[in-house]
Chain length 366, copies 2
């Protein structure tokens, strides 16, 4: 395996900011907007956290970042930074796009149109066969198949498109094989396909990593096909995220008597396109590139903490609680400017006191 491109100074600085405690994609983006560079943001963090009323978050040192980068390089992998080339174009349009991905494999796949296929881990044998064939047929039409390297439908989708182009997004580190029986497939895809991870190498996947992984799958692809999915399953979350990003959601129907078809049938009732074949999927996606619709983007106002008074901070904290509340609602109820509210939330987040939720909602950590 060829050693990948070495990381540069800007990359190392970005990595330090990305791996800082409490810094998620939204905070990272806001900090870069506000301070202009990762190093300037890192320098400002202690003061911001103090204003937020908490302890200074852990900011990795340059040596820490170099250590991770060396490990990534040793794995034959490299970083993709949002805002720098190469980075998946459609994914960068998502508000919560990962600031950095670790990638191993054939980066040229990122330049081709992608379609995601997701579904049940305990899929029926018939659905597994169907998914493999559908992936194969879609790959022949020129689509790269994106999935999550999980059991069942994910595995079948990757297998069907292995020879022509498939991307796997893992929930843990790129060197972690989960489920273990997919180690050979993942290793194969790190050569012939492409494997992506948002987490540092060595990260064991935990429950919270899976929804994060699902958003990357949905964000990479022009559209998401759900093959078999139980109600309230992760596949439906991926479908929902794809819809939120303005991408096509497609589902393969099944008998109402088959519990594993409930999720897909429900999606179709909600407006997903019923698909039975690669031709149906291709028809839904339209001509390549035609669907590069930017997702509705949340604009962060940029404000200096200096503009924010202590009374405003207290008011916002008083409005926050353990139940997530919309940032818009905070602005309305507090009467404080959106820029100032965002600045206060940023401080609270860096102080480890704020959690961010889907739909631009936030809650106060106990």
């Amino acid at each position: 395996m060829a050693r990948a491109d070495p990381i540069d100074a800007d990359g190392l600085a970005r990595l330090r900011l990305i791996r800082t405690t409490s810094v998620g994609p939204a905070t990272y983006r806001q900090l870069l907007l506000r301070f202009g560079s990762p190093l300037a943001a890192i320098k400002a963090i202690p003061d911001l956290a103090r204003r937020g009323g908490g302890r200074t978050p852990f900011v990795p040192s340059l040596a820490d970042a170099e250590r991770e980068a060396d490990r990534v390089a040793a794995l034959g992998a490299r970083y993709l930074f949002n805002g720098r080339d190469p980075y998946p174009a459609l994914l960068s349009e998502a508000d919560d796009a990962p600031p950095a991905l670790i990638a191993a494999g054939d980066l040229s796949l990122l330049d081709r149109p992608m379609v995601a296929m997701v579904g049940a881990r305990n899929a029926s044998a018939a659905a597994v066969r169907f998914a493999r064939q559908l992936a194969y047929d879609l790959a022949l039409l020129g689509h790269v198949i994106v999935s999550g390297l999980a059991r069942g439908i994910d595995t079948a989708a990757h297998q069907g498109a292995l020879a022509t182009g498939t991307i796997g997004v893992v929930a843990g580190g790129i060197d972690i094989f989960y489920p273990p029986e997919n180690e050979a497939l993942q290793r194969d895809m790190m050569m012939r396909g492409l494997v992506l991870s948002e987490q540092p190498p060595g990260t064991e996947p935990h429950a919270r990593h899976f929804p994060s992984r699902n958003r990357i799958i949905a964000g990479l692809a022009q559209g998401t096909v759900v093959v078999e999915a139980a109600p309230r399953s992760g596949s439906l979350i991926t479908a929902r995220l794809a819809a939120d990003y303005g991408r096509d959601v497609m589902a393969v129907p099944g008998s109402p008597l088959d519990p594993r078809a409930q999720g897909c049938n429900h999606l179709i009732r909600e407006g997903a396109t019923l698909v039975q074949s690669a031709a149906d999927v291709a028809e839904a996606l339209g001509p390549f590139g035609a669907n590069h619709v930017a997702a509705p983007s949340v604009d962060f106002d940029v404000a200096a903490s200096n503009d924010v008074g202590d009374r405003d901070r207290r008011d916002i904290v008083a409005l926050l609680g353990p139940s997530p509340v919309a940032v818009d609602e905070l602005v309305r109820q507090s009467g404080i400017s959106p820029a100032a509210v965002h600045a206060i939330l940023l401080e609270l987040e860096l102080a480890g006191r704020l959690a961010r939720h889907a739909g631009a909602r936030v809650s106060l950590d106990a």
Copy 2:
């Protein structure tokens, strides 16, 4: 079985016109509009047919009509005439509504909201069970279930709703049991439910009767649910007719791997509502009575044959051939007024030289 209401003089005259050779629903309606009464229309027929260049069609005598009416009464059945009470309200909104139906059973069912259920004769055992349950559940919600007394899904739909209300529309005469194994069900429905037929008693069902029967099923109901249907099956024709009438079309999905699901899945792709339960059907239909949407109605212009010149007749005949052509197209190409074109077509039809097709298209019989 109580002897049904006797037929009156107007009914007998209508029956004579209805049973006249070459007089279909469209011609019947046009003749009544033009001549004001069935007897006046009957009187005009020989002259119209002569102008159309053919032999005078067979017009049953009053005695012939009385003979049929006696037979209907002896079966405990009665006539329902379009334009007179009782007649199914939604059906009367269809352009090609039968001028007369023969009905045996509980006429009060006609006053309740109806939903049609159709599907494959060779349905899977699972689909048959599903259809029976769906009909039962819909009946509990107050819907009368309309179907065609065929094998498979039709039979299951009637059985599920037998105790609460079901209407069967047969393709042949009301006293003909087809398929033979459904004789007991049909006899039961002639007491507890309602059986309708457009054909005189004793008529054996032929291929051409089935699409006619299907239009009655679609026309009676607020919406049509297709449970299992092969591509190009009669159930899909019923669904198409329901859509043409502006009624709701619903379909139960299935796996793409199941050939019997292809028709339903295709319908859903085309815009039919995916339904998995009685609640889904009820939701699609909306509140009772809310869906009494009149179908787009074709207005026949009323013109006397006297207004039509012989050259116009020759021009229209020259434009006609064995392939169906739209009446609108004839008007456009001939430059003759719509009223005159309709009058000429009426003559040709009565002369046995014209066939009418779906979509207001006509062809010349060889």
